[in-house]
Amino acid sequence: MAEFAQYIINGLSQGGTYALIALGYTMVFGILQLINFAHGEVFMLGAFTGLYTSKYAGLAILGTFNRLLTGSAETASTGAAILTAIVIILVAMCVCAAVGFCVERLAYRPLRASPRINLLITAVGVSLFFQNAGQLLFGSDPKAFPDLFENLEPWTFGADENLIVINPLQVFVFITAITLMLILRHVIFHTRLGRAMRAVSFNHDLASLMGIPTNQIIAATFMMGSSLAGAAGVMVGMTYPKVEPLMGSLPGLKAFCAAVLGGIGNVTGAVLGSFILGLAEALLSGYGTPTYKDALAFTILILILLVKPSGLLGVNRTEKV
């Protein structure tokens, strides 16, 4: 039982990061019907931004918060560590939003009128460009992420047989992911920007006839999706303290599978699908064969396309001429 609980906790934490990536996929797909292959690379760039921010400014920020909270820069406190992590995540989110804006402006917008296959090829090209340019820029060897939470002990419940270990970082990741998702939900369903986004995703031409600046809304969607991926990048970097230029492609693709599982274009579906995928992966590596873990997401994808192509929460939309 304790074993099972442990897998569930790992799965939820993994599912949270998938969800943050999947949201970007599903938002961009909802508004442009484009699989933004470069999204996984935005996630990677977020992790690297987090790495370099915490490497060069992390101690200074930590010291400032320590002084504010405890009066002395030397005394470590959990609160200061959490605040530092939040600042680093915000920096990565801003950088990734800028990257998302540039990608949309330079690569996707000029092609918006062209056939969809051209957009798709461009997306693949952008993704590979970031992967390989990342290897040139950062080096292809994995880099260690500085540990901000080094003074924190893992929380343990139960004893010997029924021991459950919870890393405070996992809890932090989970709570941050849920918070960001709630903020996103609020933006999409309760603000003017969100209403405009939903209108554009419903019909570009009609939305622009109603006076909605379509281009700006699409750019905003890219920026929001990319910033969430950036946040996920920092959190993954913190949890598995290793960052490398190719780290984005596999989680990116898996998150896309999760988005399709939940129903692509559907925000709630993306979150649901991601948690299902995270849990399934954790249980498979726990009880089954961990070596098959990476193939699970794609197997789920093929099965869901075979059984219910619109996904768990998606609605079937007929294609109109």
Binding site: I35, A107, F129, Q135, L253, T291, L305, P309
Partner: protein, 348 residues
């Protein structure tokens, strides 16, 4: 390609379609096969062999990505299915019957059969992968084929019969210049004939407008799956040739970068142009070697950065590729007919 290109101007569309010239071409290939390895250095010989394999890959992918307008990113996956299976067949046969190695004819027959078996296995897998994703819009295929490459890698990694993570080694080097270019000529011939048949027009109609095509009574899913399975067959054969040239295989041999190289050949040559794919395949194989000094100089692999930038810029500036949907011979014919119309014009 050489005999087809030069003969088209004289005998028109029927000339290039006739089997005769292709058989002559295969004959020339086998004549060259005898003395080419002695004539040129092993390095250039390797480039020529790899160019032939890349021609098979890019022309067969063009059937899916170019003519049918679907976007497959799993060509390396089908290569690995064909490569592993054919290598498994030949290595186990050679291990159980070592005397077969002394008979060159038996070797060629075994190799040919193993290649065809590899192709058939790739076709079967392509059918299974293609059926769910090809019922839907094109972009799902991209992600499913990408995921399929990952699934197949994980499966080979966990299969001890083909060496697992260590890989399969000690494969007999059956692949020769003749084998590669015979396969390349057969591939180009088959795909040329398919594309210029009624079935090919179905594929082009799917690319141009799927809804209109359905309205005309075309079973679009069936057409797409057929094209996809056929592309997978030739990818499997190319994988077999590649495996018997490298003589070792491991699950990382056919990674996504290989699929991507083939995609960029198709896009660069022109989606829907067979001769464009051939030219781009040869060009990029040579370019890859030509860029090697640059890699040694800088110490980093700049090739993929250049390739991906080329792809993006190509899409922005000339999305139809070098040749678009026309063939080399079309361009020649256009030039000739223009000259005929303006005999005093001088410039064409």
């Amino acid at each position: 390609m050489a005999p087809s290109g030069s003969n088209n101007e004289q005998s028109g569309q029927t000339g290039i379609m006739s089997l005769r010239w292709w058989i002559v071409g295969i004959g020339i290939v086998w004549l060259l096969n005898a003395w080419l390895p002695e004539l040129i250095s092993p390095y250039f010989f390797q480039i020529i062999v790899l160019a032939g394999i890349n021609v098979i890959l890019s022309v067969s992918l063009n059937l899916v990505n170019g003519f049918t307008g679907q976007f497959s990113m799993g060509h390396a996956g089908f290569m690995s299915v064909g490569g592993y299976l054919s290598a498994f067949i030949t290595t186990s046969l050679v291990a159980s019957h070592p005397e077969l190695m002394n008979d060159p004819v038996a070797g060629v027959v075994i190799f040919a059969i193993s290649l065809i078996m590899g192709g058939i296995a790739a076709t079967a897998v392509g059918y299974i992968v293609g059926l769910p994703s090809l019922r839907l819009r094109g972009d799902y295929l991209a992600i499913v084929t990408l995921g399929f490459g990952e699934i197949i890698r994980v499966i080979f990694l966990n299969t001890n019969a083909v060496g697992g993570a260590r890989g399969l080694s000690g494969i007999t080097k059956f692949t020769t210049f003749g084998a590669v270019y015979t396969a390349a000529l057969i591939t180009v011939f088959c795909i040329w004939r398919v594309v210029h048949s009624a079935h090919g027009r179905i594929l082009v109609s799917i690319r141009e407008d799927e809804i209109a095509s359905t309205a005309m009574g075309v079973n679009t899913t069936e057409g797409k799956v057929r094209a996809f399975a056929m592309g997978a067959f030739f990818a499997g054969v190319a994988g077999g040739l590649f495996a018997h040239y490298l003589t070792t295989l491991n699950p990382g041999t056919f990674d996504f970068n290989r699929s991507f190289e083939v995609i960029i050949m198709v896009v660069l040559g022109g989606m829907g142009s067979i001769s464009g794919s051939v030219v781009a395949a040869i060009m990029l194989t040579v370019l890859k070697e030509a860029l090697r000094p640059l890699q040694q100089l800088t110490g980093v692999d700049l090739r993929m950065v250049i390739y991906s930038l080329v792809l993006i810029i190509m899409m922005l500036a000339r999305p139809k590729g070098i040749f678009g949907t026309s063939e080399i011979c079309d361009l020649f014919r256009e030039k000739l007919s223009r000259r005929g119309k303006h005999p005093d014009g001088g410039s064409a």
